[in-house]
Amino acid sequence: MKPLLKKILAPRRIEYLEVSEKFTIQDTSDGVQRFADAGQKVRHGKDVRASFPELVGVEDILLEVLHGEQPAFELKGIARYSDHTLPLYFDLYAIDDEDEDTGKKKLMIFFEDVTERMVLEQTLVQRSNEASLLYNALASAKDYINKIITSMADALIVTTINGQIKTINQATEDLFGYDRNELIDAHISKIINDARFWYNAQQKFATPGKIFKDIEVVCLAKEGTEIVVSFSGAAINTELNLSQELVYVGRDVTARKEAQKVLEFARREAEMASQAKSSFLANMSHEIRTPMHALLGMTGLLLETELNDEQRDFVETIRISGDALLSLINEILDLSKLEAGQMELESHDFDLIASVEEVVEMLAPTAHAKGIEIASLLPPHLPRQMRGDKMRLRQIITNLVGNGIKFTDVGEVTLEVTLVEESATTARVGLAVTDTGIGMSPADQQKLFQAFAQADVSTTRKYGGTGLGLAICKQLVGLMGGEIGVESELERGSRFWVEIPFALSVKPEPGATPPRDLVGQRLLVVDDNATTRRVVREVASSWGMAVAEAATPAAAVEVLTAPGEPGRRWDVLLVDGDLGLTDGIVWGGELLLGMSPQAVPGRTIALLKSNRLEDVKRAIEAGFTSYLVKPLKQSKLLEAISATTYPPETQTNQTAPGVTPSPALPSELPAHPAPPLPKLRILLADDNMVNQKVALKQLERLGYQADVVANGAEVLQRLDKVAYDIILMDCQMPIIDGYEATREIRRRYQHSNGDSGEPREVAPNRPVVIAMTASAMKEDEQKCFAAGMDDYLSKPVRKEQLQAILTYWGNRLLEG
């Protein structure tokens, strides 16, 4: 190497080697060692590849250079790590040269330190690569999000706060039928035409973080169809331009809405059908009641005319069938109301004992006609004053007791009332109706309380009835919060029980203090019916009496002739009129006759069946001081036992002239004949000829006369001429109906009255309007009063009701 060259190269940190054709080192610059591979000494005669491994593999090229076939060989940026700190970088050049002395070809290899440049370059590359990686990561993250957005089934829309659409996904295009370029930059109102969804500062979702959820909007698709879309959305703050954007995510719920609509429609249909059914039934009841009214009314009148036995029998049958039909209609009406959940219970104070006794008393004639006993067992200390729906309770009892009577041919039907539970404010009352009838198999008992499933078809044929009664009872009891059940044994009888909770009335219990003087008195009851004896025993002992019982005349004699007895006085003697084979009245009369005068009891009472009222006379004649009609009522029993005045009321009051044989019992008849009827001017308005006739006949028999018109218009015309006291007004009439006519009457008499406020306050000369309607529904009653009618009669109108209502209003008119 020329010294000159060395001088030039050294300051530029360029080192060199001279290498032979065999790659052996022949000369080196002083500092070349630092470029050599770690730990490899650069020495003369050594293979250059040991210290510079980058030359391995490229020997061919180096030789080409050496032979001048290639201008040069270079490798740039070779890194050398002497230790693990900073690397040394160098570029390597190889060119050919000729030995000045020998002329031999050789390679000159130069090493230039480029560390500075490479370190700088490394920094740049590092940065650039890291940026690329970051960009890649971002791009793939964005790609990922985009993939999610596009593949989302829900439509996604991003707008500026001004509503300009910035981003949409495929689902949005599909949903609204627009192309991407039709929507991008368009206003959101193009698809969501609902201002609630556009930006406005008050809007909740304008606040970042707040979202709105599932708001349904009707949107317009491109081809004009309406679609219902459920939108959720939020405002987002974008970092880049510090402005807000709104994100909407919408889901097509048109199908769901449609399904909902179909469902809703079906529901409405069903509702309407059920309403239709209910009003159909109500109408039916109206339509049926109108002719029934005529039928029953006419039948009643017919029965009062001269009839031979056969005719009477026919008419009687018509009346019974009519009654049955009417109650059937009522039952069906009740049941349909119950099943439609339209039955509403009333809540009034009522007397439990009186209610029970009334029902049993009402049904007694039927039982007695069949030759069976009927009794109610009421424990002496039962609370009496309850609050609840008395009418429905009576309906339940009537049904159960009526059933008992229906299915019993021999024996008795008893209704026993018990107090199941009592608190300060409520009482749970148990009612059990026990009969000695045909009973039921367990299988039949299961079907009992279902509508239209009477236990046995053959039973239906034999005993009649719809079997609806028990279904109604069950529903009613359920409505009242109670329970109902049955225990029964074939051929032995059945026991139906209900338990119903009632509120206790705040009204004080009537002071049930029995007369003191009964305490210690001696009572003998002679009756072959054990229940009757039990009733008497329980009640009388509770009053402090000493009670003896006898089931037969023989047993009675035994009691009376027991040691110490003959001649001793009994205070009360009760004798059943029907002692099986013995006639109790005859026997009782003879017994009394045979007694020593001082031994004859103070009160001798004959117990009579309700269908044997002709026995009253016989009993009195036989020497009884009074009589009681079965079933025994506590109050009546007490009255009879503690009575001091005798002879008791006779039967003479029973039939007032012109009055049908009353279903009322002799002991309850008023002591005086009805007072003379006030002269009333009555106008009857009814469009139905038969109804007119029936009502007129009834009025006539009650001793009234009436004018007749056929519609509301005629009513008003007549009123101009005649000042009527009372108008009996049918509600449904042509031209002007009863309601309208009544309203007009009210209007006309308003001025003379001054104020028209209270519907029952009668203006001096305003006629009293009494509605007569064939609808039995409670709503109708209210409708009548709302129209200004004063009172209400439900058809078929019974003569007794008519009489009662006319008497009431007649008296009020008289009083002024």
Partner: protein, 171 residues
């Protein structure tokens, strides 16, 4: 002892340096330090030359600067290389796409050179995804591709194997 030059070729940051480090120093670092220029590492491996007779071969492994959008691989580095490990990062699809280019470049310099493909960072993706990639990139049109490996410099998975088999092929 014979020495053989092989090169690590591939996009930047696919793990070329890491694979060498794992193979030579049995180490791994999560840090990324871009390679600039070239660095040569040595590793002696025993290979079965011909008839069951083992010989030692010194591998001179050239760690090249990764290719980027801005700068490709300098062909001069590839001169005299008996084979390459062409490396891709399985988490970056574009690095896989570029494998073909790298192979082309290498063969243009060394038509007789041998090639091993390393799908690196295989520890980062699920087995199923990996299987899908391997099935998709078989390089059946490249007779010089003699082996395809799913490697991981991090876990060492198939790192020794890929170097070892390249060494055996180039002998």
């Amino acid at each position: 002892m014979i020495s053989k030059k092989i090169c690590m070729v591939g996009d930047f940051s696919v793990g070329k340096t890491s694979l060498i480090r794992r193979f030579v120093e049995r180490q791994f670092s999560d840090q990324y330090l871009s390679t600039v220029g070239v660095k040569i590492s040595r590793k002696t491996v025993a290979v079965e030359a011909n008839k069951a007779e083992k010989t030692d071969v010194q591998l001179l492994i050239w760690d090249l600067e990764g290719s980027t959008k801005f700068k490709g691989i300098a062909p001069s580095y590839l001169q005299g290389s008996k084979g390459i490990l062409v490396v891709a990062d399985v988490t970056r699809p574009d690095t896989i796409e570029h494998l073909e280019d790298h192979i082309q470049l290498f063969l243009s310099v060394n038509p007789e050179g041998l090639i091993m493909v390393a799908f690196n960072k295989s520890d980062l993706i699920e087995e199923a995804k990996l299987a899908k990639i391997l099935a998709q990139y078989q390089f059946t049109n490249q007779p010089k591709v003699l082996g395809i490996y799913a490697t991981s410099a991090k876990t060492g998975q198939d790192v020794d194997n890929i170097f070892q088999s390249l060494a055996e092929k180039i002998i």
